[in-house]
Amino acid sequence: MRIVVQAEPFDFGAEANAFASGHTDMGAIVTFTGVVRDLPGDPLDRMVIEHYPGMTEKALESIAAEARERWSLGDVLVIHRHGEMRPGDMIMMVATAAPHRVDAFAAAEFLMDYLKSRAPFWKQEFTADGAEWVASKDEDEDALKRW
């Protein structure tokens, strides 16, 4: 299990390859990557992500540990950036390795659902109109109910 919180960009392909290569007993690897979107009609200059150092790592570790309890997983990777990002930049990734695809998919979705609204990150978007904190979505809170 590896949890990384950093300001620097990460190399998604290199991380995905390294993660997938380590496991000859895992048949299924799932990755999710979040990318800064350019907003149609209101072009995004940049996104800044604030986080709570210390709690962030704890929250991600506890989410990953819970995923490992719920599903048969070989490994979990979470990388999440903070600081300034531009449209097209990768914000974060999770990866799961499991003997079977059902577990790898379910664990990756679970990690994402929890990470969205239980890990202490806050997004702020900067456009020509100024800065705005991204509001949390009811659907993200609702997504937790299925687990």
Binding site: G34, E50, M55, K116, W122, A135, E141
Partner: protein, 83 residues
């Protein structure tokens, strides 16, 4: 007791600083909020709608009625938007 109180995102912006030491006898998070609200307008504003706020005590998410005995760090922030 002396608590480290942290603010994030727009809560930090409204309070005007990211952290401060607070000397308090508050037994719960809610009592701490009442004390802060009574201090200055900017606190009253930041804590005006608790449904828009979340709280962590010693870096664990919790509820507003959580006890503070033994706590060293309390953080207030809006709902999280990671991922």
């Amino acid at each position: 007791m002396a608590l480290n109180v942290l603010y994030f995102a727009w809560v930090r912006e409204r309070i005007g600083e990211p952290r401060e030491k607070v000397e308090t006898q508050a037994a719960t998070v809610m009592e701490l909020i009442e004390e802060l609200r009574a201090r200055e307008e900017r606190y009253a504003m930041a804590f005006s709608d608790l449904s828009a706020l979340r709280v962590a005590v010693d870096q664990e998410l919790t509820e507003f009625d959580a006890a503070l005995d033994g706590a060293r760090e309390v953080a207030f922030f809006p709902p999280m938007t990671g991922g």
